[in-house]
Structure formats: structure tokens, C-alpha cells
Amino acid sequence: MLSINDLRASVEGKEILKGINLEVKPGEVHAIMGPNGSGKSTLASVLAGREEYEVTGGSVTFNGKDILEIAPEERAAEGIFLAFQYPVEIPGVTTINFLKTAVNEIRKYRGESPLDAAQFLKMVREKAKLVSMNDSLLKRALNEGFSGGEKKRNEIFQMAVLEPKLAILDETDSGLDIDALRIVSEGVNSLRSPERATIVVTHYQRLLDYIVPDYVHVLYKGRIVKSGPKELALELEEKGYDWIKAEVEAVS
């Protein structure tokens, strides 16, 4: 489904991704962990199409399509969804209006007719229930004045509405209380299916108790330096990153 080959990217002339390789198949959950500043959000942003990052080498295909060539909105319409580490506040645009525009733009891209107001509302209500998203938040300006946890929940709510094929969750667990963590994870799990895949960027094993990954990767200094089964996350939780850093330094 997603094939990343020797992906290199820089920002302001500084190389941040230094040759990433990753294969994600339908139905899989991949966790990406790694120390602060190692490039996890950069990778997520490059996949979503953020223009300030310049891709300097390598390729990314999604269901056979070269996605580096297409605009962020087209990637979304192809089924890629990024839940932001820091969701943006947009004053003056209500969450509900924003989502309606997004849903119908994506439908247009796919050659489907737009949902009418009633169909849309029905769908939104169901999804809001799924992640226990308060109705009053939907009517407020997008993320404006939302608490940290509310913003994260809003990301997962939007994901539930847009039903992406590949969801990339960038530290969606940070800032969530215990109950919210469970609710958000349940939301993610309810979307798990043999056709969909998820990439979870996190610092904590805790999330992976709920969203159990098939693979765990460690990103360090712009490269995936270690991959393993879900137990790798436990090991990292216990030992930290020093032993991995030492392994990397020893090789280079």
C-alpha cells in the first residue's frame, strides 16, 4: 500500500530525513518511535505534502501512485490522513462547516455526488458518538480555544468522518487523559480493517497497549535504525534509547 524508498528531505537546506525505507501493507499497524527531533513529524509531514519540506531524493508510492508528485488535497482524496501533532486553530470556520467542505471536496475528486445536509449530519453524529466528541465543539470555530485533549480528539473525529485508507497519527496520545486515551484508541481500532493501515507516531508504550502494532520502528537522526515486533516498544520503554544510539554510533 505504502512504499517508501530511500526518502530524503530537507528544510532550509538542512537534511532531516536521510534515507527512509518503509513498507506498509493493508491491515497493518506500524508504530514509529524515536528521540525528540529525530524526524518523525517531518516524515509524517512529507507524506502529507507539506511544501516547506523539500524532497531531495527517493520515492513514495501509495497504492502504486507516486504521491510526491501530487498536491496535499489530492493525497487526502487518495486516502491519506495525517492527524497533526499540533492541530492548527482556524478562527471563523466551524468544525462542522470545515468537515462538510472536506467531505464534499473529496467526494468530488472521486467523482461522487456531494452529501446533502441531512446525510452529512447523520454521518457526523454517528462518528462524533464514536469518539465521544461533544456536539458543542462541532459548532465552534475549528480548534479555536480547544483544550489540548479536545484538539487531539477532534483529529480522530475527523479521521473517523473521512475514513482514510492510511492514517498517520503524530503523537495523538500526548495531552490525552487516561479516559480520552482509551476513547481515542477505540476510535482508531474501530476503523481497523483489512483494507486500512495505520502509522502511529508515539513516545509511549501506553498507547500501544490499546492500538497494538504489528511492527515497531525506531527513527533516529533521519533514518530507521531498528525495526521489530511489538515487544520492541516494551524494551524501549524499559531501557530508553541509549543502547540504540550506541549501536548506531558503533556502526558508523
Binding site: A48, G49, R50, E51, E52, A71, P72, E73, R75, A76, A77, F81, L82, F84, P87, V88, E89, I90, P91, G92, V93, F98, L99, T101, A102, V103, E105, I106, Y109, A141, Q158, L162
Partner: protein, 439 residues
């Protein structure tokens, strides 16, 4: 000074005296003496140049280098105006064509016990002393050449009086149409609005152009807001790319009154709006909202004044603009707090999005505070569109152009939502959405 500048001025001054010479006895009236004095002041001032501090960024050279027919007749019919219309619900609609009241197109729905309303030319004929008691009593202070010119040539416009304790339920919408289908049109409407004690009025002025020749509108509105009265006043400019508009709205507020102004400039070649509010009462609330969308080579200049002369009153101001192409915007906001005006709260803000490197915005807050116990603040921002927000929206599948128009629409929303006449707000929402979508 170019020779053309002298031309328009000379032509107007000559025209004034020519008309006066055939007035017979009427020339001696108090009203005419005011006009005469105004003409003399205009003659002395001349049209402003950019050397004049108040006109530093707004050059009227192009405006005054043209000639206009100030007395043009028009065979306009309602059907000609279909696509210029704001779809109105229950409202009093008064049409002015080339500055003249048009009875055939106008329609009143409010009863005469709620308000007195008539064309200014009729009002001058019927009760010259009453009109004279209001005429130029507020605008006379301005010292502005265009205002003097309007005063000198005052002949028509609207006169509205709302008696005390009356609330005019239906808004009054004044539509000024320049019929520029076959020639350059000049018009100088003059409006006098008097709202009595504890009376309430919603008023809008809408300016449109028909045709593709040039138009020059020089409008002056004087608004008297009595004690405990409330007035909402909207000015909507959606004129042609060849329309020049200079307008002054001069307001005086007395104790405990409220005044809301919303000024929206959708289109026009050159627009200069002066909105001057004298807060001559205690516990008054004045609000000024403004919105402008120049594109191409359009020029929009808003000059506002909140002049606090008495204690304990508040003024609030928010102007917003989106500038494209090679357009220019000017904002000058004056706040005066006179020595007597203790405990004044005066807030002012002007925010702009400049979408093109060739567009420019000049903002100048000007605070002159002579009292010590006051709260005043001002802020101006001029920026580009928020790229983070744009990427966020695109990452959810919204196209670049759609995201851009959503963001711009949102930027305008806090001003548009202040417009309390539903039909006008809805009209603006539609026009603005269209304007933001097509570019």
C-alpha cells in the same frame, strides 16, 4: 498643479454663480447663504493634493481630471436595476438616480407616525427653516474640500426624522444609482438624518453604478443621534471599476445613545470614506466596522474619527481588508479624547491580508488624548494568509483555492456578522463568497 485640476474646479465654481444669478429672491435665504459660504471655502481650498496630510496616500488627480455631467437625466426603469438589487425583505426602499430622488422606484412600508421621510429637495421646499436648522451644522466642521463642494451644491438626498420614543421597525435602505450608460455622471447627494430621544432607526446607503462610463459620487450624510437613541448605519459600495466615490458621514451623539456604523466597500475604482463621530454625550456607545476588498488597481481609503468630548463613553472600531493585485488600501483612525472626557474607553483595530506583493496597505492610527483617566488601545496588522492553516485544510482534502476562500471568508466573518439588517448581511455574504471564490 495640472491644468485639468483647475478645470473641474473652475467649471464647478462658474456653474455655481451661474445658477445663483437666476435664483431671484431665494438666493437671500439662510440655506443659500450657507451654500455660498461653503463654495467660497471650496474655492479657496481647491481639490486636495497629496501634499495635504489627510490625502497623503489618496491621489484624486485622476478623479478631477475627468468631466462629469452633474445634471444628467435618466430613463432608468426597475428592470434595469434587477441585477443591482439587494433582495429586500420588508424595508423602506428609496431610490436616487444620479443624485435625484426617484419616486417611481421608491417604496415606503413604515407608517408616517414612526418617521418623517422625504426627499431633501421637497423638504427644503416645504420647510426650509427646519432643514436649515440641521443643514451643515455637523458637516460644517470638516474643513474638507469635497464636503464643502457637496454643501455648496446640495439639492437633493434624503431627510429623515424619527420622533422621540419611536422605533422604526423596518430598515430604511437608500439606493444611489449612477446611470453611467451613456456619459460620465456626477452626483452629490446630501442626507440629513435626525433621530429623536429614545428613538431607533436602521439605515443603509447602497451605491451602485449602471453602465461603463465614469461616475463620481460626492456624498455627505449628517446624522443626529439624540439622548437614549439608537442608530444602525450601513454603507455598502458596490460600484463599477470606473466609479470614484468620496463620502463623508458626520455623526453627533448625545447622552446614552448608541451608534453602529458598518462600511463595506466591495468594488469601485477610487473610494474615500470619511466617518466622523462626535461623542458629545455621556455613556454613549459608538461602533465602527469596516470591510474592503480592492483588486486590480482599485484604491480604498477609510478615514475615521471618534471624538470623545464628554466622560464615560465608549468607542470600538474594527476595520478589515483583503487586498489583491496592485490595489491600495489606506486606513487612518483618529481618536480624540478631550480634557472633559474622563473614563473614556476607546479601542481601534485594523487588520489586513495582502495577497499580492504589488498591493499596499497604509495604516495610521492617530490618538490624541488630553484626559488622564482613559483606556485606549489601537493595533494594526498587515499580513499574508496563514500558511499553516492552509496546509491543515488541504491535508483534509480541501483544494488550495477553496481553502483560501474559506480562510478569507472567515477573516471577514466578525465584521459581516455585525451587520444586523438581515437582507443586507445575506447579500454581503453572497457577494463576498463570490468575490473570494472567483479569484
Amino acid at each position: 498643479m495640472s491644468t485639468e485640476t483647475i478645470d473641474l474646479k473652475t467649471r464647478l465654481v462658474t456653474d455655481f454663480y451661474a445658477r445663483e444669478s437666476v435664483m431671484n429672491g431665494a438666493a437671500a435665504s439662510a440655506l443659500h447663504q450657507k451654500k455660498r459660504a461653503a463654495l467660497a471655502r471650496f474655492d479657496k481650498l481647491g481639490f486636495p493634493t497629496i501634499k495635504n496630510e489627510e490625502w497623503k496616500y489618496s491621489n484624486v488627480k485622476e478623479l478631477v481630471s475627468e468631466s462629469y455631467n452633474f445634471n444628467a437625466a435618466s430613463d432608468i426603469e426597475l428592470s434595469d436595476l434587477e441585477d443591482l438589487k439587494i433582495p429586500e425583505q420588508d424595508a423602506n426602499i428609496i431610490y436616487f438616480v444620479n443624485g435625484h430622488y426617484h419616486a417611481g422606484l421608491s417604496r415606503l412600508v413604515s407608517s408616517s407616525d414612526q418617521l418623517t421621510i422625504s426627499s431633501l429637495s421637497d423638504a427644503i421646499k416645504n420647510d426650509p427653516d427646519l432643514i436649515n436648522s440641521f443643514f451643515n451644522e455637523l458637516a460644517g466642521e470638516s474643513g474638507d474640500a469635497f464636503t464643502e463642494l457637496n454643501t455648496a451644491f446640495t439639492h437633493d438626498g434624503i431627510f429623515i426624522h424619527v420622533p422621540e420614543n419611536k422605533t422604526v421597525e423596518h430598515p430604511v435602505i437608500l439606493r444611489f444609482v449612477s446611470d453611467a450608460r451613456s456619459q460620465n455622471i456626477g452626483s452629490q447627494p446630501r442626507n440629513i438624518i435626525s433621530v429623536g430621544r429614545n428613538a431607533h432607526l436602521k439605515l443603509a446607503e447602497a451605491f451602485r453604478t449602471l453602465g461603463t462610463e465614469r461616475s463620481f459620487t460626492n456624498a455627505v450624510t449628517e446624522i443626529y443621534v439624540s439622548e437614549d437613541a439608537g442608530v444602525e448605519y450601513y454603507k455598502v459600495q458596490n460600484e463599477s471599476d470606473k466609479a470614484y466615490h468620496v463620502g463623508t458621514t458626520q455623526v453627533r451623539m448625545l447622552d446614552r445613545s448608541q451608534f453602529y456604523a458598518g462600511t463595506v466597500t466591495l468594488n469601485g475604482r477610487f473610494t474615500r470614506n470619511n466617518l466622523n463621530i462626535v461623542i458629545d454625550g455621556e455613556r454613549c456607545e459608538a461602533y465602527m466596522y469596516g470591510l474592503y476588498f480592492p483588486d486590480g488597481v482599485q484604491h480604498v481609503d477609510n478615514h475615521t474619527t471618534a471624538d470623545h468630548r464628554k466622560p464615560n463613553s465608549n468607542s470600538n472600531e474594527l476595520y478589515k481588508g483583503i487586498l489583491r493585485d496592485r490595489s491600495k488600501g489606506v486606513f487612518n483612525g483618529k481618536i480624540f479624547v478631550r480634557p472633559d472626557a474622563q473614563k473614556t474607553n476607546a479601542f481601534q483595530s485594523c487588520k489586513n491580508i495582502v495577497l499580492s506583493p504589488d498591493a499596499t496597505m497604509n495604516t495610521k492610527p492617530q490618538l490624541e488624548i488630553f484626559a488622564d483617566d482613559v483606556k485606549c488601545s489601537h493595533g494594526t496588522t498587515t499580513g499574508q494568509i496563514d500558511e499553516e492553516a492552509l496546509f491543515y485544510m488541504r491535508s483534509r482534502g480541501i483544494s488550495h483555492s477553496e481553502a483560501l476562500s474559506l480562510l478569507m471568508f472567515a477573516f471577514c466573518a466578525d465584521v459581516v456578522s455585525q451587520i444586523k439588517i438581515d437582507s443586507i448581511r445575506e447579500y454581503l455574504e453572497n457577494v463576498i463568497a463570490e468575490k473570494l471564490a472567483t479569484k
